[in-house]
């Protein structure tokens, strides 16, 4: 059941993204920025937790889930450390994903060559 719901909820979130792309015809960066900001505020208001309860990875894997994790980290650390926590919490909680992208991005650049190069 988790698998079915992950597929469906993840699919629906991507369809929303596709509709936004096709409607506004803006660079994908605008969509990604929109999703991460919306995800952060949905996370803050506790709405995204409900979507995760329904959709599992279908809700956490899309960029909205990245926003939710940012909010979760900021709120948790703000509660325990105050202002410094509010400043660092989101960054700390999302650090594995960002660091992994940086690490694997660098390794990929070292190993592979850009298209068109021999």
């Amino acid at each position: 059941m988790n698998y079915v719901m992950s597929f469906i909820v993840g699919g629906i979130i991507c369809v929303i993204g596709q509709i936004i792309i096709d409607t506004f015809k803006k660079n994908n960066a605008y969509l990604l920025v929109l999703f991460v900001v919306v995800g952060t505020f949905l996370g803050y208001f506790g709405l995204y937790d409900k979507i995760i309860e329904i959709g599992y990875s279908g809700a956490t894997v899309p960029l909205l889930g990245f926003g939710h994790t940012l909010a979760e980290g900021a709120v948790e650390e703000a509660a325990s450390k105050g202002f410094i926590g509010a400043l660092s919490g989101g960054v700390v909680k999302t650090a594995p994903g960002v660091a992994a992208a940086l690490l694997f991005g660098y390794i990929t650049a070292v190993i592979f060559n850009p298209k068109g190069d021999k």
Binding site: Y3, S6, G10, G11, C14, V15, G17, Q18, I19, I21, D22, N28, A29, L31, L32, V33, F35, V36, V37, T40, F41, G43, Y44, G55, S57, G58, T60, V61, L63, L64, F66, G67, L70, A71, G73, A74, V75, E77, A78, G82, F83, A86, G89, G90, V91, T94, P96, G97, V98, A100, A101, L102, F104, G105, T108, A109, F112, P114, K115, D117
Partner: protein, 146 residues
């Protein structure tokens, strides 16, 4: 006929088949769904195969997806998938990874420091800037309202 920015967009809209949007949505649903399903499968492997607590398995699953996305980007496959999958390949965390790996690879020509390293967040930077700013605002809001 002269084209300016406005009526060029009109002309493009006119010639864009309407059912193309529906087709794009179907592909976005399938690709996005499969990537999220893959994330759930990897998470479950960590939980039941390696006895890792559910809270740690989620981020670990993301890291695996990011690694796979980096490999696919390096091989030039992710862009091909993206041509069909559209937002289905952009919105998941693999799309974020792709937006980090692509410029890292593309700017390799200018060297590993001023090329790869300097441009690695060229596309993903906006996401991090607005994401971190939102997180800070949310953190402050939670300080004020408890």
């Amino acid at each position: 006929m002269k084209y300016d920015k406005e009526n060029y967009k009109q002309v493009v809209d006119e010639y864009t088949p309407k059912n193309k949007i529906l087709k794009n949505c179907v592909w976005a649903f399938i690709f996005g769904g499969i990537i999220c399903l893959l994330g759930e499968i990897i998470k479950n492997i960590f939980v039941s195969g390696f006895n890792i607590p559910e809270n740690d398995a989620g981020p670990m699953s993301s890291v695996v997806l990011i690694a796979l996305s980096a490999l696919f980007t390096g091989l030039g496959w992710y862009d091909k998938l993206g041509k069909v999958g559209g937002a289905g390949t952009v919105v998941p965390i693999t799309g974020f990874a792709n937006s980090v790996v692509s410029p890292a690879l593309e700017y390799k020509r200018e060297g590993l420091v001023l090329g790869t390293a300097a441009n690695i967040f060229k596309l993903a930077g906006p996401v991090l800037v607005y994401g971190y700013l939102s997180a800070f605002i949310v953190g402050i809001l939670s300080l004020i309202f408890g």
